[in-house]
Structures are given as structure tokens and as C-alpha cells.
Symmetry: C2
Subunit: 203 residues, 2 copies
DNA sequence: ATTTTTATGGTGCGATCGAACCATAACATC
DNA sequence: GATGTTATGGTTCGATCGCACCATAAAAAT
């Protein structure tokens, strides 16, 4: 076994090139040659690490998903000792907004893939996994908030959770298009959260 | 002036082919040859009516926008004599959902164009026009509802309007991905509207 | 009937695409 | 040091792309 090279590192390096190109010009611009140039490797290497172009697109998406989950966990972990339901839900929703270059790029990549998700069953499967889990997570957090008296019993936790996630997603698009600043987006989220989490200033 | 042919009709015929292809496989699949085949005309005709490929993409988008606006007006006109604010807002929001093949296709086309909107200033200008107007429209309707006592004075009309539009947009995406049925989507919208339009059954 | 403008089809060119193929440098193992 | 596997670069091929160019049918204008 010669020439041990960190395969995951190489794959990530190539995947990041795919992301940049997809975010910049859509999947049309993700050609093997452009990816190779952007990643600073030879085109042959793409075949070696990913195989065909479709497999490259799939692989880059999987790595992006793993990345998103890990970053989200990291950021949620920085919320402090006992965050409280309000803060946690806020953290989850803010993960959907393009508040920094990394998140902005990620959501642009998802946008570039979107239509493909419908046509390609394999990609679709990968894409459909995440959002539903998010809604359930938020719904559970709101329900916990009800147990703790931070949320009125009158609210429909599942319905509100779904609409919060969908709303954050919709606001994300407007920020990407430059119709709204990130600050305005956060304010809109906070406005809705203040409505749902009535009985809380801290937590 | 010979051979008078309905130019608009021809352009629409070609534009519809662009929409179908874009909805099916993204802008990558919108090649001149494929569009020509899909529209049942010669590739030469695309050049004649639209010019370059970029101009074709722009033209097809403009026609789509005009179409969307006209269809929305038509549907709103069928709401009956004195619709009331609740029903009008509902009608506007439902226009954002893929409740039939036409609306589904339209939103898929927008999705296919999305990343382009950021890179191409011309396309971006066309795309940015619509949504902001929608939010203002809904905000105005909610404000009118407040005047008429159908909406509490406590609600922030602008903030709620924005979140309603964004939420409808986000829900739209989940319906397109098959994560939610159109009926569930409508129910979610109605749930939010029932919260905002408190004092109304016939509204 | 001739002319002129509009509308349409076909064909060819240079560039680029995805992917298969061929070569070989690097290195662990024996 | 010989050997065999892993990792990388380069080249080539058939297909397809956008688009420019050439031809001509159809009909209004003269």
C-alpha cells in the first residue's frame, strides 16, 4: 500500500470546487474541466476519486450535507450552558439563513441542485432527508416549550414548526437575491419567535 | 408585409418549450436544439425569434412573468363579488403554491433560473421585481383588514405579510419535492391566516 | 408580373463536453 | 532491489453545443 494520501481530504478539496462553481453559475458550470481547474488538480483525478460526473455531483452533495450537519451542531453547542427552547429554535432557524459566506454558499448550492432533486431519484433521496427532520426537531422543541410553560397550549406545535422552517427558507431566498439584509431576516424570525414564545425573555 | 404570422403566438409556443425543458431538467437541458425539437420548430427559428441563447432565456422568463400576473388576476377575479381581505390574501398566497400543473411548472422554472438571477444582472432585475410587490400587496390588505376590524391592531402588518409570503414560498418548495401534499400546504396557509384574521368567518 | 420583405429550413464550423484510455511516478511489501 | 498496488498526469474520441451562414417559400407591395 504505497503513497498513502488522505482521500477524504482530496475528496473534500474537489467537492469544495464543485460548490464554488455551482454557487457561482449553477450546475451548468460544473464541468469536469472547470472543477479540475478550480480545485487545482488534473481532470483525471476527478474520475479517480468520484468516477462519472453524476457521481461527482452526488458525492459533492453528500459531503455538503455532512458539513451542514456538523457546522449546525457546532454552532448550537456555542449557545451556552442551558440555552432554553427559544434560543435553540432560534439557532436552528438561523442555520437556514445565509448569515455568513459559508451558509450563503451552501444554500446557493442547494438552489443549484434543486431541479435535479426532482428528476434524479438518487439525488432526491439525499435532499429529502434533511428538511423533514428539521421540522420535527422544531416541533419537538416547541412542544417542550409548552411543557415548560414558555409556549401557550393553544399553539399547534407541528403547524407552527413547519411554518417557521418554511418561512426561514423563504426569507433565505430573498436574502440571497439581495432583497433583504441578513439583519432584517433575523428580525423577521425573531418577530415570529416572540409571538410563539410568549412567556420568556431569558430562555 | 407578407406572410403575416402571429409573432407573439410563436414566441409563446417556443417559450413554453423552454419552460417544460427547464422544469424537467434545469437550464442545462435548455439547449437550442432541444428547445426546437420540444417546440416542434427548426432550430433556426429560435434564432429568428429570440436571437442568442441568453436572449431566449430572458425572453422566456419575461413571458412567464406576464403569464403569472395575468393568471393571478384571473383567479382573483373569480373570488366573487365582495371577497373580503381574508379571501384576497388567501388567493394571493395560494398563487405561490403548485396547486396545478401550470403553477407547478412555473415555480420549477423559477427554481431552475434561481442561481442565474444572482450572476446575470439582467435576469436578476426581472426576477427581483415581482416578490417585493407581492409583500407590499399583502401588507396593504392586512392593513385594510385592520381598518375593517378583521385584524387585530396588535399585528405588525408588514412583518406578517413578509412572513406569509416567505412561508408560502418555503412550503411551495416542500410540495415540489413531494414532502407535502398540496392539501396539507393549503391547510398550513389557512392555519396562519386564521391566526391573523381573527374576527372573520366570512371575510 | 416583378419586386421586396417576412418567415422558415438546413448545414457547417470551431469549441467544449464527458469519459475512456495510456503512461508513469511514488511507495509499501517481500 | 524486485514487485505490485496506488495515485497522478496527459491525450484522444465521438457527441453535442451555440451560432453564423446560405437558401428559399410565401405573400404583400408595386
Amino acid at each position: 500500500m504505497p503513497r498513502q494520501v488522505d482521500h477524504d481530504r482530496r475528496r473534500r478539496q474537489i467537492a469544495e470546487a464543485v460548490w464554488r462553481l455551482a454557487a457561482r453559475g449553477g450546475l451548468e458550470d460544473v464541468t469536469l474541466r472547470q472543477v479540475a481547474t478550480e480545485a487545482g488538480v488534473s481532470a483525471r483525478l476527478l474520475q479517480y476519486y468520484f468516477g462519472t460526473r453524476d457521481e461527482l455531483l452526488l458525492g459533492a452533495l453528500e459531503i455538503l450535507n455532512d458539513d451542514a450537519e456538523q457546522r449546525a451542531r457546532e454552532r448550537l453547542a456555542t449557545l451556552g450552558g442551558a440555552p432554553g427552547m427559544h434560543a435553540v429554535v432560534r439557532g436552528v432557524l438561523l442555520e437556514l439563513l445565509p448569515l455568513d459566506a459559508e451558509r450563503r454558499n451552501r444554500h446557493l448550492v442547494y438552489a443549484a441542485y434543486f431541479v435535479r432533486f426532482l428528476a434524479d431519484p438518487v439525488l432526491g433521496k439525499v435532499a429529502r432527508a434533511a428538511p423533514h427532520a428539521l421540522e420535527n426537531l422544531v416541533a419537538g422543541l416547541i412542544a417542550q416549550g409548552q411543557e415548560l410553560g414558555q409556549v401557550s397550549r393553544d399553539v399547534d406545535a407541528a403547524a407552527e414548526a413547519t411554518f417557521l422552517v418554511a418561512g426561514a427558507d423563504g426569507i433565505q431566498a430573498t436574502v440571497l437575491l439581495g432583497q433583504r439584509t441578513p439583519e432584517e431576516a433575523v428580525a423577521l424570525i425573531d418577530h415570529q419567535l416572540a409571538r410563539i414564545f410568549t412567556a420568556t425573555i431569558r430562555g
